[in-house]
Protein backbone atom coordinates (compact mmCIF):
# COMPACT_ATOMS: atom_id res chain seq x y z
CA UNK A 1 0.00 0.00 0.00
CA UNK A 2 1.15 3.48 -0.77
CA UNK A 3 2.53 5.37 2.18
CA UNK A 4 1.05 8.72 1.21
CA UNK A 5 -2.37 10.00 0.23
CA UNK A 6 -3.52 13.06 -1.64
CA UNK A 7 -4.68 15.84 0.68
CA UNK A 8 -6.89 18.66 -0.56
CA UNK A 9 -8.16 21.51 1.53
CA UNK A 10 -10.72 23.72 -0.18
CA UNK A 11 -12.39 26.91 1.05
CA UNK A 12 -15.07 28.97 -0.69
CA UNK A 13 -12.37 31.44 -1.63
CA UNK A 14 -9.68 29.15 -2.97
CA UNK A 15 -8.03 25.77 -2.98
CA UNK A 16 -5.60 26.09 -0.11
CA UNK A 17 -3.72 22.81 -0.08
CA UNK A 18 -3.21 20.13 -2.70
CA UNK A 19 -0.33 17.89 -1.74
CA UNK A 20 0.77 14.38 -0.92
CA UNK A 21 0.68 13.80 2.82
CA UNK A 22 1.58 10.98 5.14
CA UNK A 23 -0.70 11.87 8.01
CA UNK A 24 -3.43 14.35 8.85
CA UNK A 25 -5.29 15.18 12.01
CA UNK A 26 -8.68 16.76 11.63
CA UNK A 27 -11.03 18.21 14.23
CA UNK A 28 -14.10 16.02 13.75
CA UNK A 29 -17.29 17.10 15.38
CA UNK A 30 -17.11 14.18 17.77
CA UNK A 31 -13.41 14.60 18.48
CA UNK A 32 -10.09 14.71 16.67
CA UNK A 33 -9.40 12.09 14.04
CA UNK A 34 -5.93 10.97 13.00
CA UNK A 35 -5.85 9.68 9.45
CA UNK A 36 -3.14 7.58 7.83
CA UNK A 37 -3.04 6.26 4.26
CA UNK A 38 -5.49 3.46 3.60
CA UNK A 39 -8.19 4.70 5.94
CA UNK A 40 -11.68 3.35 5.46
CA UNK A 41 -14.06 5.67 3.55
CA UNK A 42 -15.56 8.17 5.94
CA UNK A 43 -17.55 11.38 5.92
CA UNK A 44 -17.57 13.72 8.85
CA UNK A 45 -18.48 17.21 9.85
CA UNK A 46 -15.67 19.33 11.27
CA UNK A 47 -15.77 21.44 14.38
CA UNK A 48 -13.74 24.54 15.11
CA UNK A 49 -10.16 23.43 15.61
CA UNK A 50 -6.86 22.87 13.93
CA UNK A 51 -5.75 20.63 11.12
CA UNK A 52 -2.23 19.25 11.39
CA UNK A 53 -0.71 17.45 8.46
CA UNK A 54 2.65 15.99 7.55
CA UNK A 55 3.73 16.53 3.97
CA UNK A 56 7.25 15.29 3.45
CA UNK A 57 9.41 16.15 6.41
CA UNK A 58 7.52 19.23 7.48
CA UNK A 59 4.48 19.54 9.64
CA UNK A 60 1.89 22.22 8.93
CA UNK A 61 -0.96 23.57 10.97
CA UNK A 62 -4.12 25.34 9.91
CA UNK A 63 -6.88 26.93 11.94
CA UNK A 64 -10.30 25.93 10.61
CA UNK A 65 -13.83 26.87 11.46
CA UNK A 66 -16.71 24.68 10.41
CA UNK A 67 -16.05 22.28 7.62
CA UNK A 68 -16.59 18.92 6.17
CA UNK A 69 -14.27 16.07 5.21
CA UNK A 70 -14.37 13.06 2.93
CA UNK A 71 -11.81 10.35 3.56
CA UNK A 72 -10.97 7.73 0.93
CA UNK A 73 -8.10 5.24 1.18
CA UNK A 74 -5.87 7.28 -1.15
CA UNK A 75 -7.38 10.72 -0.81
CA UNK A 76 -8.61 13.13 1.84
CA UNK A 77 -10.66 16.14 0.85
CA UNK A 78 -11.51 18.79 3.39
CA UNK A 79 -14.06 21.50 2.76
CA UNK A 80 -13.44 24.22 5.28
CA UNK A 81 -15.44 27.37 5.59
CA UNK A 82 -12.33 29.22 6.69
CA UNK A 83 -8.81 27.84 6.92
CA UNK A 84 -5.82 29.94 7.79
CA UNK A 85 -2.11 29.34 7.96
CA UNK A 86 -0.39 30.64 11.10
CA UNK A 87 1.17 33.51 9.12
CA UNK A 88 -2.23 34.63 7.82
CA UNK A 89 -3.88 34.95 11.18
CA UNK A 90 -4.59 38.43 12.44
CA UNK A 91 -3.60 37.91 16.07
CA UNK A 92 -4.81 41.31 17.21
CA UNK A 93 -8.25 40.75 15.70
CA UNK A 94 -8.50 37.27 17.19
CA UNK A 95 -7.58 38.62 20.62
CA UNK A 96 -10.21 41.32 20.39
CA UNK A 97 -12.80 38.83 19.19
CA UNK A 98 -11.99 36.61 22.16
CA UNK A 99 -12.38 39.45 24.63
CA UNK A 100 -15.63 40.55 23.08
CA UNK A 101 -17.07 37.05 23.14
CA UNK A 102 -16.02 36.58 26.76
CA UNK A 103 -17.60 39.87 27.77
CA UNK A 104 -20.80 38.99 25.98
CA UNK A 105 -21.01 35.63 27.68
CA UNK A 106 -20.25 37.09 31.09
CA UNK A 107 -22.76 39.91 30.73
CA UNK A 108 -25.80 37.66 31.18
CA UNK A 109 -27.71 39.88 28.77
CA UNK A 110 -30.73 37.90 27.49
CA UNK A 111 -30.22 39.33 24.00
CA UNK A 112 -26.91 37.57 23.57
CA UNK A 113 -26.86 34.69 21.17
CA UNK A 114 -25.01 32.24 23.39
CA UNK A 115 -24.33 29.73 20.66
CA UNK A 116 -22.79 32.28 18.36
CA UNK A 117 -20.73 33.73 21.16
CA UNK A 118 -19.35 30.34 22.14
CA UNK A 119 -18.61 29.67 18.52
CA UNK A 120 -16.81 32.99 18.15
CA UNK A 121 -14.87 32.30 21.32
CA UNK A 122 -13.75 28.87 20.11
CA UNK A 123 -12.71 30.31 16.75
CA UNK A 124 -10.69 33.07 18.36
CA UNK A 125 -8.98 30.67 20.76
CA UNK A 126 -8.05 28.26 17.97
CA UNK A 127 -6.65 31.09 15.90
CA UNK A 128 -4.54 32.32 18.79
CA UNK A 129 -3.25 28.87 19.52
CA UNK A 130 -2.32 28.08 15.93
CA UNK A 131 -0.75 31.50 15.44
CA UNK A 132 1.22 31.12 18.66
CA UNK A 133 2.66 27.77 17.63
CA UNK A 134 5.00 29.34 15.10
CA UNK A 135 6.55 31.84 17.47
Amino acid sequence: MADTFQLEIVTPEKKLVDTAATEVQIPGKNGYLGILPGHAPLITELAVGEITFHAGAEQQRLAVAWGFAEVLPDKVTILAETAERPAEIDVERARKAKERAEQRLASGDPNVDVERSLDALAKAETRLEVAGSKK
Binding site: V10, T11, P12, L33, F68
Partner: protein, 359 residues
Protein backbone atom coordinates in the same frame (compact mmCIF):
# COMPACT_ATOMS: atom_id res chain seq x y z
CA UNK B 1 -18.85 80.24 -38.66
CA UNK B 2 -17.39 78.38 -35.68
CA UNK B 3 -14.31 79.85 -34.13
CA UNK B 4 -11.20 77.78 -34.79
CA UNK B 5 -9.80 78.38 -31.34
CA UNK B 6 -13.01 77.10 -29.70
CA UNK B 7 -13.00 73.95 -31.77
CA UNK B 8 -9.37 73.34 -30.95
CA UNK B 9 -10.16 73.69 -27.26
CA UNK B 10 -13.00 71.21 -27.55
CA UNK B 11 -10.81 68.71 -29.32
CA UNK B 12 -8.27 68.95 -26.56
CA UNK B 13 -10.93 68.34 -23.93
CA UNK B 14 -12.29 65.30 -25.77
CA UNK B 15 -8.75 63.93 -26.11
CA UNK B 16 -8.36 64.23 -22.35
CA UNK B 17 -11.66 62.46 -21.77
CA UNK B 18 -10.61 59.71 -24.10
CA UNK B 19 -7.44 59.23 -22.13
CA UNK B 20 -9.45 58.80 -18.94
CA UNK B 21 -11.95 56.37 -20.41
CA UNK B 22 -9.12 54.37 -21.92
CA UNK B 23 -7.37 54.11 -18.56
CA UNK B 24 -10.61 53.12 -16.86
CA UNK B 25 -11.14 50.42 -19.42
CA UNK B 26 -7.72 48.94 -18.74
CA UNK B 27 -8.34 49.06 -14.98
CA UNK B 28 -11.75 47.40 -15.35
CA UNK B 29 -10.25 44.70 -17.53
CA UNK B 30 -7.67 43.91 -14.86
CA UNK B 31 -10.32 43.88 -12.14
CA UNK B 32 -12.55 41.73 -14.29
CA UNK B 33 -9.79 39.19 -14.68
CA UNK B 34 -9.33 39.04 -10.93
CA UNK B 35 -13.06 38.77 -10.31
CA UNK B 36 -13.31 35.97 -12.85
CA UNK B 37 -10.54 34.07 -11.10
CA UNK B 38 -12.27 34.45 -7.77
CA UNK B 39 -15.58 33.26 -9.14
CA UNK B 40 -13.77 30.29 -10.62
CA UNK B 41 -11.92 29.38 -7.46
CA UNK B 42 -15.18 29.38 -5.51
CA UNK B 43 -16.61 26.75 -7.80
CA UNK B 44 -14.92 23.58 -6.49
CA UNK B 45 -16.25 24.24 -3.00
CA UNK B 46 -19.77 24.84 -4.28
CA UNK B 47 -19.65 21.74 -6.46
CA UNK B 48 -18.41 19.51 -3.66
CA UNK B 49 -21.01 20.78 -1.27
CA UNK B 50 -23.75 20.21 -3.80
CA UNK B 51 -22.55 16.69 -4.48
CA UNK B 52 -22.46 15.70 -0.85
CA UNK B 53 -25.94 17.09 -0.34
CA UNK B 54 -27.23 15.17 -3.32
CA UNK B 55 -25.76 11.92 -2.11
CA UNK B 56 -27.14 12.57 1.35
CA UNK B 57 -30.61 13.05 -0.08
CA UNK B 58 -30.40 9.47 -1.26
CA UNK B 59 -29.15 8.15 2.06
CA UNK B 60 -30.97 10.16 4.65
CA UNK B 61 -34.71 10.18 4.88
CA UNK B 62 -35.19 13.77 3.83
CA UNK B 63 -38.69 13.26 2.58
CA UNK B 64 -41.42 11.68 4.60
CA UNK B 65 -41.86 8.21 3.09
CA UNK B 66 -45.65 8.35 3.42
CA UNK B 67 -46.67 11.85 2.46
CA UNK B 68 -43.61 12.82 0.40
CA UNK B 69 -43.38 16.08 2.31
CA UNK B 70 -39.89 17.24 3.12
CA UNK B 71 -38.80 17.00 6.72
CA UNK B 72 -36.45 19.94 6.61
CA UNK B 73 -37.99 23.40 6.97
CA UNK B 74 -35.76 24.91 4.28
CA UNK B 75 -37.24 22.55 1.72
CA UNK B 76 -40.86 23.08 2.67
CA UNK B 77 -43.03 25.12 0.31
CA UNK B 78 -45.35 27.56 2.01
CA UNK B 79 -47.95 29.92 0.63
CA UNK B 80 -46.10 33.09 -0.33
CA UNK B 81 -47.33 35.94 1.77
CA UNK B 82 -44.10 37.55 2.83
CA UNK B 83 -41.22 37.65 0.43
CA UNK B 84 -37.62 38.66 0.74
CA UNK B 85 -35.82 40.01 -2.29
CA UNK B 86 -32.05 40.44 -2.36
CA UNK B 87 -31.05 43.03 -4.96
CA UNK B 88 -27.41 42.88 -6.02
CA UNK B 89 -26.15 45.95 -7.90
CA UNK B 90 -22.85 47.78 -8.08
CA UNK B 91 -21.31 50.30 -5.70
CA UNK B 92 -20.05 52.57 -8.44
CA UNK B 93 -21.41 54.11 -11.60
CA UNK B 94 -19.92 54.56 -15.06
CA UNK B 95 -20.80 51.01 -15.94
CA UNK B 96 -23.38 51.70 -18.59
CA UNK B 97 -26.85 50.49 -17.71
CA UNK B 98 -25.58 47.78 -15.37
CA UNK B 99 -27.25 48.86 -12.14
CA UNK B 100 -30.25 50.42 -13.88
CA UNK B 101 -31.04 47.12 -15.60
CA UNK B 102 -31.01 45.29 -12.31
CA UNK B 103 -33.20 47.79 -10.50
CA UNK B 104 -35.56 47.66 -13.47
CA UNK B 105 -35.76 43.87 -13.22
CA UNK B 106 -36.29 44.20 -9.47
CA UNK B 107 -39.14 46.65 -10.01
CA UNK B 108 -40.74 44.33 -12.50
CA UNK B 109 -40.46 41.49 -10.02
CA UNK B 110 -41.99 43.62 -7.27
CA UNK B 111 -44.90 44.46 -9.58
CA UNK B 112 -45.46 40.78 -10.33
CA UNK B 113 -45.72 40.13 -6.60
CA UNK B 114 -47.93 43.13 -5.91
CA UNK B 115 -50.11 42.85 -2.82
CA UNK B 116 -47.65 40.78 -0.85
CA UNK B 117 -45.40 42.00 1.88
CA UNK B 118 -41.91 42.34 0.53
CA UNK B 119 -38.68 42.90 2.42
CA UNK B 120 -35.69 44.09 0.44
CA UNK B 121 -32.02 43.56 1.17
CA UNK B 122 -30.08 45.95 -1.03
CA UNK B 123 -26.48 45.10 -1.79
CA UNK B 124 -24.52 47.79 -3.63
CA UNK B 125 -24.79 51.56 -3.38
CA UNK B 126 -26.51 52.13 -6.73
CA UNK B 127 -29.42 49.83 -6.03
CA UNK B 128 -29.69 51.05 -2.46
CA UNK B 129 -29.99 54.67 -3.58
CA UNK B 130 -32.63 53.82 -6.15
CA UNK B 131 -34.73 51.68 -3.82
CA UNK B 132 -34.49 54.08 -0.92
CA UNK B 133 -36.04 56.83 -2.97
CA UNK B 134 -39.09 54.65 -3.50
CA UNK B 135 -39.51 52.53 -0.41
CA UNK B 136 -39.24 53.21 3.32
CA UNK B 137 -36.53 51.65 5.41
CA UNK B 138 -37.59 49.20 8.11
CA UNK B 139 -37.14 50.28 11.69
CA UNK B 140 -34.10 48.10 12.08
CA UNK B 141 -31.65 47.78 9.25
CA UNK B 142 -28.29 46.15 9.55
CA UNK B 143 -25.34 45.99 7.23
CA UNK B 144 -23.49 42.83 6.26
CA UNK B 145 -20.46 43.90 8.22
CA UNK B 146 -22.53 44.26 11.37
CA UNK B 147 -24.23 40.95 10.70
CA UNK B 148 -20.90 39.16 10.38
CA UNK B 149 -19.59 40.58 13.66
CA UNK B 150 -22.74 40.48 15.73
CA UNK B 151 -23.09 38.22 18.72
CA UNK B 152 -26.58 39.38 19.62
CA UNK B 153 -29.54 37.16 19.07
CA UNK B 154 -31.62 38.20 16.12
CA UNK B 155 -34.44 40.44 17.26
CA UNK B 156 -38.03 39.70 16.36
CA UNK B 157 -39.37 41.43 13.31
CA UNK B 158 -40.52 44.93 14.11
CA UNK B 159 -43.67 46.48 12.76
CA UNK B 160 -43.57 46.97 9.04
CA UNK B 161 -42.71 50.39 7.66
CA UNK B 162 -44.69 49.67 4.52
CA UNK B 163 -45.91 46.87 2.30
CA UNK B 164 -42.52 47.05 0.65
CA UNK B 165 -39.69 47.92 2.98
CA UNK B 166 -35.93 47.83 3.00
CA UNK B 167 -34.60 45.66 5.80
CA UNK B 168 -30.93 45.76 4.99
CA UNK B 169 -28.51 48.08 3.21
CA UNK B 170 -25.13 46.72 2.35
CA UNK B 171 -22.85 49.28 0.80
CA UNK B 172 -19.14 48.91 0.16
CA UNK B 173 -18.93 45.13 0.66
CA UNK B 174 -18.51 44.31 -3.01
CA UNK B 175 -14.98 45.66 -3.29
CA UNK B 176 -13.64 43.14 -0.82
CA UNK B 177 -15.94 40.16 -0.76
CA UNK B 178 -15.60 37.78 2.13
CA UNK B 179 -17.42 34.53 2.48
CA UNK B 180 -18.12 35.28 6.14
CA UNK B 181 -20.43 38.12 5.11
CA UNK B 182 -22.42 35.99 2.71
CA UNK B 183 -22.73 33.42 5.45
CA UNK B 184 -23.93 36.03 7.90
CA UNK B 185 -26.60 37.19 5.47
CA UNK B 186 -27.61 33.59 4.77
CA UNK B 187 -27.91 32.86 8.49
CA UNK B 188 -29.97 35.97 9.01
CA UNK B 189 -32.27 35.09 6.12
CA UNK B 190 -32.62 31.47 7.22
CA UNK B 191 -33.54 32.53 10.72
CA UNK B 192 -36.24 34.82 9.37
CA UNK B 193 -37.47 32.00 7.15
CA UNK B 194 -37.58 29.62 10.07
CA UNK B 195 -39.59 32.05 12.14
CA UNK B 196 -41.94 32.34 9.18
CA UNK B 197 -41.37 36.06 8.93
CA UNK B 198 -40.76 35.37 5.27
CA UNK B 199 -42.04 32.54 3.07
CA UNK B 200 -39.69 32.77 0.12
CA UNK B 201 -36.35 34.32 -0.72
CA UNK B 202 -35.36 35.54 -4.15
CA UNK B 203 -32.19 37.16 -5.35
CA UNK B 204 -31.97 39.34 -8.44
CA UNK B 205 -28.50 39.69 -9.92
CA UNK B 206 -26.47 39.62 -13.08
CA UNK B 207 -25.30 36.09 -13.70
CA UNK B 208 -21.85 35.88 -15.23
CA UNK B 209 -20.53 32.84 -17.04
CA UNK B 210 -18.17 34.77 -19.30
CA UNK B 211 -18.02 38.17 -20.96
CA UNK B 212 -20.41 37.09 -23.69
CA UNK B 213 -22.58 34.77 -21.61
CA UNK B 214 -24.43 36.84 -19.07
CA UNK B 215 -27.99 36.87 -17.88
CA UNK B 216 -30.01 39.06 -15.63
CA UNK B 217 -31.88 36.62 -13.43
CA UNK B 218 -34.21 36.31 -10.50
CA UNK B 219 -33.33 33.16 -8.64
CA UNK B 220 -35.27 31.50 -5.87
CA UNK B 221 -32.99 30.73 -2.95
CA UNK B 222 -35.55 29.53 -0.43
CA UNK B 223 -37.35 27.21 -0.23
CA UNK B 224 -34.83 24.98 -1.96
CA UNK B 225 -36.55 23.16 -4.80
CA UNK B 226 -33.86 20.95 -6.25
CA UNK B 227 -30.39 20.78 -4.86
CA UNK B 228 -27.80 21.61 -7.48
CA UNK B 229 -30.24 23.23 -9.90
CA UNK B 230 -30.77 26.93 -9.48
CA UNK B 231 -34.46 27.80 -9.65
CA UNK B 232 -34.48 30.67 -12.12
CA UNK B 233 -37.70 32.64 -12.18
CA UNK B 234 -37.04 35.45 -14.64
CA UNK B 235 -34.14 35.65 -17.03
CA UNK B 236 -33.04 38.22 -19.54
CA UNK B 237 -30.37 37.20 -21.98
CA UNK B 238 -28.00 39.72 -23.49
CA UNK B 239 -29.11 41.12 -26.83
CA UNK B 240 -26.98 40.41 -29.89
CA UNK B 241 -25.96 44.05 -29.96
CA UNK B 242 -24.76 43.92 -26.35
CA UNK B 243 -22.95 40.69 -27.01
CA UNK B 244 -21.12 42.19 -29.98
CA UNK B 245 -20.09 45.24 -27.99
CA UNK B 246 -18.89 43.17 -25.05
CA UNK B 247 -16.94 40.94 -27.40
CA UNK B 248 -15.19 43.89 -29.06
CA UNK B 249 -14.33 45.39 -25.70
CA UNK B 250 -13.00 42.09 -24.41
CA UNK B 251 -10.83 41.53 -27.47
CA UNK B 252 -9.31 44.98 -27.37
CA UNK B 253 -8.66 44.67 -23.63
CA UNK B 254 -7.21 41.21 -23.96
CA UNK B 255 -9.67 39.48 -21.64
CA UNK B 256 -10.42 35.84 -22.32
CA UNK B 257 -13.87 35.22 -23.71
CA UNK B 258 -14.60 31.85 -22.25
CA UNK B 259 -14.34 31.04 -18.62
CA UNK B 260 -11.70 28.34 -18.53
CA UNK B 261 -12.63 25.25 -16.61
CA UNK B 262 -10.45 25.04 -13.57
CA UNK B 263 -8.47 21.87 -13.21
CA UNK B 264 -10.00 21.09 -9.84
CA UNK B 265 -13.50 21.07 -11.21
CA UNK B 266 -13.52 17.55 -12.52
CA UNK B 267 -12.07 16.21 -9.31
CA UNK B 268 -14.58 18.30 -7.39
CA UNK B 269 -17.41 16.76 -9.35
CA UNK B 270 -16.41 13.36 -8.05
CA UNK B 271 -16.29 14.45 -4.45
CA UNK B 272 -18.46 12.42 -2.12
CA UNK B 273 -19.84 10.25 -4.90
CA UNK B 274 -17.47 7.30 -4.68
CA UNK B 275 -19.32 4.02 -4.85
CA UNK B 276 -18.31 2.87 -1.41
CA UNK B 277 -20.02 2.60 1.90
CA UNK B 278 -18.87 5.54 3.87
CA UNK B 279 -18.62 5.52 7.59
CA UNK B 280 -20.72 8.43 8.69
CA UNK B 281 -19.32 10.02 11.78
CA UNK B 282 -22.65 11.70 12.28
CA UNK B 283 -26.04 10.39 11.14
CA UNK B 284 -26.78 11.46 7.54
CA UNK B 285 -29.81 13.46 8.68
CA UNK B 286 -27.64 15.50 10.98
CA UNK B 287 -25.05 16.12 8.28
CA UNK B 288 -27.78 17.18 5.92
CA UNK B 289 -29.15 19.66 8.42
CA UNK B 290 -25.71 21.13 8.96
CA UNK B 291 -24.96 21.40 5.26
CA UNK B 292 -28.15 22.99 3.96
CA UNK B 293 -27.52 26.46 5.44
CA UNK B 294 -24.03 26.38 3.94
CA UNK B 295 -25.59 25.65 0.60
CA UNK B 296 -27.72 28.77 0.90
CA UNK B 297 -24.65 30.78 1.90
CA UNK B 298 -22.62 29.58 -1.04
CA UNK B 299 -25.46 30.45 -3.40
CA UNK B 300 -25.53 34.00 -2.12
CA UNK B 301 -21.75 34.15 -2.29
CA UNK B 302 -21.84 32.98 -5.88
CA UNK B 303 -24.40 35.62 -6.78
CA UNK B 304 -22.17 38.32 -5.29
CA UNK B 305 -19.02 37.06 -6.99
CA UNK B 306 -20.68 36.84 -10.38
CA UNK B 307 -22.30 40.21 -9.99
CA UNK B 308 -18.93 41.80 -9.25
CA UNK B 309 -17.42 40.20 -12.35
CA UNK B 310 -20.40 41.34 -14.42
CA UNK B 311 -20.08 44.88 -13.11
CA UNK B 312 -16.46 45.10 -14.16
CA UNK B 313 -17.32 43.61 -17.54
CA UNK B 314 -20.11 46.16 -17.98
CA UNK B 315 -17.76 48.99 -17.05
CA UNK B 316 -15.13 47.71 -19.43
CA UNK B 317 -17.66 47.59 -22.26
CA UNK B 318 -19.03 51.03 -21.42
CA UNK B 319 -15.56 52.53 -21.31
CA UNK B 320 -14.65 50.87 -24.58
CA UNK B 321 -17.67 52.43 -26.28
CA UNK B 322 -16.89 55.76 -24.66
CA UNK B 323 -13.34 55.61 -25.99
CA UNK B 324 -14.43 54.83 -29.53
CA UNK B 325 -17.14 57.51 -29.34
CA UNK B 326 -14.51 60.00 -28.27
CA UNK B 327 -12.34 58.99 -31.21
CA UNK B 328 -15.27 59.53 -33.60
CA UNK B 329 -15.94 62.88 -32.05
CA UNK B 330 -12.32 63.96 -32.38
CA UNK B 331 -12.38 62.95 -36.04
CA UNK B 332 -15.50 64.91 -36.83
CA UNK B 333 -14.36 67.93 -34.83
CA UNK B 334 -11.02 67.88 -36.64
CA UNK B 335 -12.91 67.86 -39.93
CA UNK B 336 -15.02 70.83 -38.88
CA UNK B 337 -11.92 72.66 -37.72
CA UNK B 338 -10.07 72.08 -41.00
CA UNK B 339 -13.08 73.24 -42.96
CA UNK B 340 -13.28 76.37 -40.88
CA UNK B 341 -9.61 77.00 -41.34
CA UNK B 342 -9.86 76.53 -45.07
CA UNK B 343 -12.87 78.81 -45.28
CA UNK B 344 -10.95 81.44 -43.40
CA UNK B 345 -7.97 81.19 -45.74
CA UNK B 346 -10.24 81.31 -48.80
CA UNK B 347 -11.96 84.34 -47.39
CA UNK B 348 -8.67 86.09 -46.81
CA UNK B 349 -7.51 85.34 -50.37
CA UNK B 350 -10.78 86.68 -51.76
CA UNK B 351 -10.33 89.79 -49.67
CA UNK B 352 -6.78 90.31 -50.95
CA UNK B 353 -7.70 89.57 -54.58
CA UNK B 354 -10.75 91.81 -54.56
CA UNK B 355 -8.72 94.50 -52.76
CA UNK B 356 -6.08 94.33 -55.50
CA UNK B 357 -8.73 94.38 -58.21
CA UNK B 358 -10.26 97.50 -56.76
CA UNK B 359 -6.99 99.36 -57.02
Amino acid sequence: MPNILDIRRRIRSVVNTRQITKAMKVVSAAKLRRAQDRALSARPYALMLTNVLKSLVARAEIYDPETGAPKHPLLAQRVEKNILLIVVTGDKGLAGAFSANITKAASRFLESKAGKNIDIEAIGRKGRDFLRRRYPAALQTRSLVELAESLEAQPDAAERAGVIQITGEHVGVLGKLEFAQSRALAENVIERYRREEIDAVYVVFNEFKSVIAQRLIVEQVLPIEHIGEPAVRLAEEMTEEEKKRAKEAAISAGVGMRASESAGEKAAAEFGTAQVDYIYEQPPEELFRALLPKYVAIQIFRALLESVAAEHAARMTAMDSATSNATDMIDSLTLVMNRARQAKITKEIIEIVSGAAAM
